[in-house]
């Protein structure tokens, strides 16, 4: 469904953030993108919806070449790619509802959005999504009144109301506590499964990634170093991606946490 061909990004400063990245993601697959800071993870997902312009290579989503689109075409294409951000990136001085409805901006005209007169079905869908993530009561609160985990759930609603085919998720759990991190990851993965969405999730927490996703891609200095199932992440692979370190604890942790998770689910 999503195909990246020889994607390369060279910044004006001469830094090569991505080097000839080629990969394909089928419909409905959730992929974790791991790698050290500066490996090009954020650049990669921003090249897909062209918040960052790729220098070379193509991005093809459902047969449409994103990299060649005019600005009107690009806006249409962006509607089909929901994005969830690090530190939530909610517009803080707007209400929760306005933030969620802003996901419909690509579908409604300027005056409708300016006067906040959204079609009733958009409003209904916004309420449904807020109810799904447990924030219906918060609809008219201002975004800066919410806690971190709540904000990220609003961010998820904003991405989903676009009715996307693909989710681009940039470090959703950075700045969240471990429990909330897991809840957010679980929510994202559940929603992807419910709606058959593909997703690319940038994440620093390897153990957390292993817990929830079917496929892991490791990026190092803009090059794909690893692409495989989470079980195949051995200490050698992690060393290749991140550099020398004692990885045993990380991987064992993941195993234990998996068991905790299973126990918790069983207990409920």
């Amino acid at each position: 469904m999503l195909q990246l061909n020889g994607l390369t990004k060279t910044y004006a400063t001469g830094d090569k953030a991505l080097k000839d990245v080629t990969l394909a993601i089928p419909a409905g697959q959730v992929v974790a993108l791991i790698g050290p800071s500066g490996a090009g993870k954020s650049t990669l997902i921003r090249c897909i919806n062209r918040l960052v312009e790729p220098t070379e290579g193509t991005v093809v989503l459902n047969g449409e070449t994103i990299s060649g689109l005019s600005s009107a075409g690009l806006r249409k294409a962006r509607r089909t790619m929901g994005m969830i951000f690090q530190e939530y990136a909610l517009v803080e001085r707007l209400t929760v509802m306005e933030n969620v409805l802003s996901g419909r901006l690509g579908y409604v005209g300027f005056w409708r959005s300016f006067l906040r007169k959204y079609p009733q079905k958009d409003v209904d869908e916004a309420y449904r999504l807020l109810d799904r993530v447990g924030l219906l009561a918060m609809a008219d609160k201002r975004a800066d009144e919410l806690s971190g985990g709540q904000r990220q759930r609003v961010g998820i609603c904003r991405a989903l109301i676009q009715n996307p085919k693909l989710l681009l998720v940039d470090e959703p759990t950075a700045s969240l506590d471990p429990k909330t991190s897991r809840q957010i990851m679980r929510l994202i993965c559940e929603l992807c499964a419910e709606r058959g969405l593909a997703a690319i999730i940038n994440i620093h927490d390897v153990a957390l990634a292993q817990m929830f996703v079917a496929r892991v891609i490791g990026l190092q200095l803009g090059v794909v170093q690893f692409d495989g199932p989470p079980d195949a992440l051995t200490p050698d692979v992690l060393t290749a991606i991140y550099g020398e370190e004692d990885w045993q604890a990380t991987i064992e942790d993941a195993g234990e946490e998996d068991e905790d998770e299973a126990a918790a689910v069983a207990a409920q």
Partner: protein, 276 residues
């Protein structure tokens, strides 16, 4: 594993030694030269002040007359002139502020480097630079020459000055906004106008409101000064009062200006607290 940074600084050398904040200017020669130049400059500057004490003692009497008039301001004998002047000043102030803000917003958007393309940015910055380079009084003299005496020249002057002030500060506020919030709105597939409305406007609105009220305040005070060069308003009344040596009437006018500025200051405090 201990993180080791390759330097030749050793802890043993540092122990027991006092610590001082590194000087702002590292080079000691440059540092003391600048200090010396500053002292010489201050000495010469103080010596260059010329005061004609005879003239001052004469002037003190006149100044005292003026101060005494404040104790006894005369609101009544020229009340009609004062009232008309005040009303004209308020009209000039409000009209010039509203029109100035309306023009400033698009120019401010264009002058923010993070949202405007380079050619538009340069044009808008040029407009701002022009508006800021020309002092209000000079613009007013020019416009009085073109449009004749009266409030129209004052209105145009202040609207023009408002553009330079508000566009510049609005543009700087936009340049300082949170990129991620704006980026998130752009990622939804919004058009440029929608992006400004949802991603940029909410972030800069409190500051824009605060600046607008501040500018209203400045425009009122300026309108009093512009009257001195014939651009209408309370300044014209004030000028006439001075010309006739009617210091008591002038004092009344100044007191009214002070009261109005204080009221504006008070209102702006309330409004800014409300829009946070």
């Amino acid at each position: 594993m201990s993180a080791s940074i390759a330097t030749d600084v050793r802890l043993e050398d540092r122990m027991g030694r006092a610590w001082k904040k590194p000087p702002f200017i590292t080079n000691p020669i440059l540092r003391y030269t600048l200090l010396g130049i500053t002292i010489i400059y201050l000495y010469l500057a103080v010596n260059s002040i010329e005061v004609n004490w005879a003239r001052v003692s004469e002037g003190l009497v006149r100044g005292w007359e003026f101060v005494k008039a404040f104790a006894n301001p005369d609101f009544t004998s020229r009340w009609n002139d004062i009232r008309d002047g005040i009303i004209e000043s308020i009209i000039i102030t409000i009209a010039s502020t509203v029109v100035g803000i309306a023009i400033s917003i698009p120019i401010g958007l264009g002058a923010a480097r993070n949202i405007a393309p380079l050619p538009i940015y340069l044009v808008c910055r040029a407009i701002i630079a022009l508006s800021r380079a020309l002092n209000e009084i000079i613009v007013a003299i020019l416009l009085v020459a073109i449009f004749g005496f009266g409030p129209l020249a004052g209105f145009l002057t202040l609207a023009f000055a408002t553009i330079g002030f508000l566009s510049k500060l609005l543009a700087e506020e936009i340049e300082d906004m949170s990129r991620s919030q704006a980026e998130a709105v752009r990622a939804t597939g919004s058009s440029w106008m929608q992006w400004i409305d949802y991603g940029v406007k909410p972030q800069v609105m409190p500051r824009l409101i605060g600046l607008s009220i501040y500018r209203l305040d400045i425009n009122f005070r300026e309108s009093a000064v512009l009257g001195l060069v014939g651009a209408g308003g309370i300044g014209a009344t004030l000028n006439t009062a001075f010309d006739r040596y009617e210091f008591d009437t002038a004092a009344a006018i100044l007191l009214i200006i002070i009261v109005i500025v204080m009221v504006l200051e008070y209102l702006s405090g309330i409004i800014r607290a409300r829009v946070q």
